[in-house]
Subunit: 470 residues, 2 copies
């Protein structure tokens, strides 16, 4: 880290406009030095946002208050062109949520939360027989007669991985399990949370119904509650086998479910944008993104308050060190969790503008462990410079192309170059979309490492030549 | 461990009644060998009880079902004299529970749970200014005028310790904080959970009001929610300082609270008792205890399903190895959590009977790490034998006298000797009295170590001479 700092300090000294006094003034601090200094805007942004605003579900008054808060904070930090760009989007809000196993054993309450876009059970709730599926694929393969009129349970425990790679595969039960169950006539669907913890804090997240498919009530049980359901299911199976042999009527496992969320129609949301103006008005900007909205159960500390803290701290440090050649555009997107409405709205408004490169931070606050690139061939030397810089902070160079992030997804799909500062996701899915996504889960040391990595990367990207990044 | 097994095998061979055939049969397995074999009644008792019954709050239908379940299970395991001994006790049941910080910031929900014996806020809830105390002692020292008409918050985070020693000191905020607050005219009390985790699963537990003191609503926030309240409190203090200097009216931190528990009067509870009859009808029995009831938030796996599993597995193994000299009496006490009513009822009925020694398991399912004694001077050699035996399982000999446990507390106070197989409590207060007290938290390897330690100890105690334990 020492060597790297010295290199940056030398580079910075070269860039400082010389003055003709006998003893030259010391060079201004490099962006990385600033990022390692005592001033920690990443922490203070995350702490203040999660404390003073807390949960900020897209399209609600809380998200609107968060945008006002964000504009004031970004202006106070010295950014230019700070503004809201509003858009409208459909809003779903949570209601009551209760579940109980009610037979054949004594009634027992389960910890449940509704999935986004879940239908309501009505105020009286519903009760039904459970039909068990070990996975989403097993549900899809099942005959309709097995599902019709029942409450579908989808098991399938997600496993822990540093790169979070289980989410896409195991997540299908949440993303589209309710849709598949509804098509086969299920009255509701309950899934094992898409999460790796064993606390009684279920994981919410969106589920989606195809056009023409009737939305049904859909909820997630915490892992310990899913375990309990499975143990009772296994016992009823054993009882059925025994009792059927004896000529008794088998008793099914019964669930009572009360979920009363509702769709409240189109509401205002918006993106918050701030800029560090570059010295070259003809250079295309670097865009860095996070999302401001959160799910409603926690205070959105790791998802994605910390992401906004990290990218904004990095932009601030680059700005303080010296004016970059390219403009840095900071995007705090709205309404990401419920369908990436902010990212889409940004693309509709700005998609035809030239962007040199797009980056996003939206995978928690644990350390960056790998850098992946998807830059044009002209940026080979630039990639090498970034990778060399980051290796000082324990970050390895990946072999896969970068994917970008949700809010810059449309830009990347349209051909804007990207790079990923991949965060360690080992414990991300312990907390993701749960009540436990709160400030205390953030490790300040790892958060700081993110800021240092982002600052070093951003300083290089924002000062890159047009030959490297056209 | 090998040496210890050989010693026990030899001891066991000596005890077997000889037969006159040419090749003597192999000795029966020692109790410790059985405890280390595949058969694991500690796990199956804990799994079945927490799955088929689940939460079993004292005096409720669930506790009654648990007693029926327990009698059937203990009979099926081959114990003698299995019976319920009923008693009546006052019952408090949980209602709705909600809390929100409602000013000066945007409303935010907090995770709260009512403490046992909390009064109700009424169906409409109450709202009030928060007055902050860093500890129970600070509340006691405060003038009445500071507290009157307010909602008292007691902070004071409990620290993690292997022997659980923080519970008594930090627990005062829960045990008697509401009583102290009520005497000074508070309208409610909210405490930081007496727990060491950082999940949004608050810790319940009993609070007690002196005769003549009006019960007030009393709840516990989870640690992350207490952190959030403290951060908002600190911000309102800073705002007040600034605004007071400017001549504005300071804005207090406001809490809205809905807790609707109720006292439902005297209900039936009971103890379940089972025995391993000893070979010497004149020898005084060994009593081993756990408690069958649990709080209502979790399924009572570590508190105290596992305790019942451990002591019962040990008694079963001792019984299977060979008939002990003394009777072993197994007590699954009722209604411990809410005031040790089962322990008191046992003492009222049996306190005048002679007991050789009393032991209890009620501190989770993690490994036994220390053995403490409070035996008569005549048992010095017995203590040495037990300590030597246990040292093979990584258990050290403590220097403090044993304390016993809640359900055998009256016996020990009346002079019955005791010893403690102290369990590792490092993570006990992460789970204690929370929704997270569920089966998945039990480590089967550590549970097994408990059974081995208990079996070895119990085999020695149950075969001790009258000279050692009169």
């Amino acid at each position: 880290m020492k060597n790297s700092l010295r290199t940056l300090a030398l580079a910075s000294a070269v860039l400082v406009a010389g003055s003709a006094v006998a003893i030259p003034p010391p060079p201004p601090p490099t962006a990385t030095e600033l990022a390692q200094s005592g001033d920690d805007p990443a922490w203070s942004i995350t702490e203040d946002l999660t404390t003073e605003i807390g949960p900020r579900m897209a399209g609600t008054e809380a998200e609107s208050a968060a945008r006002r808060w964000a504009v004031a904070r970004l202006q106070a930090m010295g950014f230019a062109n700070v503004r809201e760009e509003q858009f409208d989007m459909p809003v779903w809000v949570r209601g009551e949520e209760e579940a109980s196993l009610v037979g054949p054993f004594l009634p027992q309450k389960l910890a449940i939360t509704a999935l986004g876009n879940s239908a309501s059970t009505g105020a009286k709730g519903i009760e039904g027989d459970i039909v068990y599926f070990p996975s989403y694929d097993a549900l899809v393969a099942a005959p309709e007669a097995q599902v019709k009129g029942k409450i579908v349970f989808i098991d399938h425990q997600m496993e822990r991985a540093q790169d979070g790679s289980g989410y896409g595969q195991y997540g299908r039960g949440r993303f589209i399990g309710a849709n598949a169950a509804s098509k086969k006539g299920a009255i509701a669907v309950v899934i094992r949370s898409i999460g790796t913890d064993n606390h009684r804090t279920p994981h919410t997240g969106g589920t989606n119904f195809e056009k023409g498919v009737t939305p049904i009530p859909a909820g997630a049980l915490s892992n310990p509650d899913a375990d309990q359901l499975v143990r009772q299911w296994q016992r009823t199976l054993r009882m059925r086998t025994k009792e059927t042999a004896l000529g008794y009527t088998p008793e099914p496992l019964r669930l009572k479910l009360l979920l009363t969320p509702k769709q409240v129609g189109q509401q205002h949301s918006g993106n918050v944008i701030a800029e560090v103006p570059g010295s070259d008005p003809n250079a295309s900007p670097v865009i860095i993104a996070c999302h401001l909205d959160s799910w409603d159960l926690g205070t959105g500390a790791i998802d994605d308050g910390a992401g906004c803290g990290i990218i904004t701290a990095a932009a601030k440090h680059v700005m303080t060190a010296r004016q970059p050649r390219r403009t840095i555009r900071v995007l705090w997107a709205g309404a990401e969790e419920v369908g990436v409405f902010g990212g889409k709205a940004y693309f509709e408004k700005h998609g035809t503008e030239k962007h040199a490169v797009a980056l996003e931070s939206d995978f928690g606050a644990d350390r960056v462990w790998r850098v992946d690139f998807k830059l044009p061939a002209s940026a080979k030397a630039l990639e090498d410079r970034i990778a060399a810089e980051l290796s000082a902070f324990g970050i390895v160079r990946g072999k896969e192309p970068a994917g970008g992030g949700a809010d810059i997804g449309a830009l990347v799909a349209a051909g804007v170059p990207t790079l990923d500062l991949q965060q360690d996701g080992t414990r991300y899915f312990d907390l993701h979309h749960t009540p436990d996504d709160t400030l205390d889960k953030i490790d300040p040391v790892q958060l700081r490492q993110n800021v240092v990595a982002w600052t070093a990367t951003l300083a290089i990207l924002a000062n890159s030549s047009d030959a490297e990044l056209p």
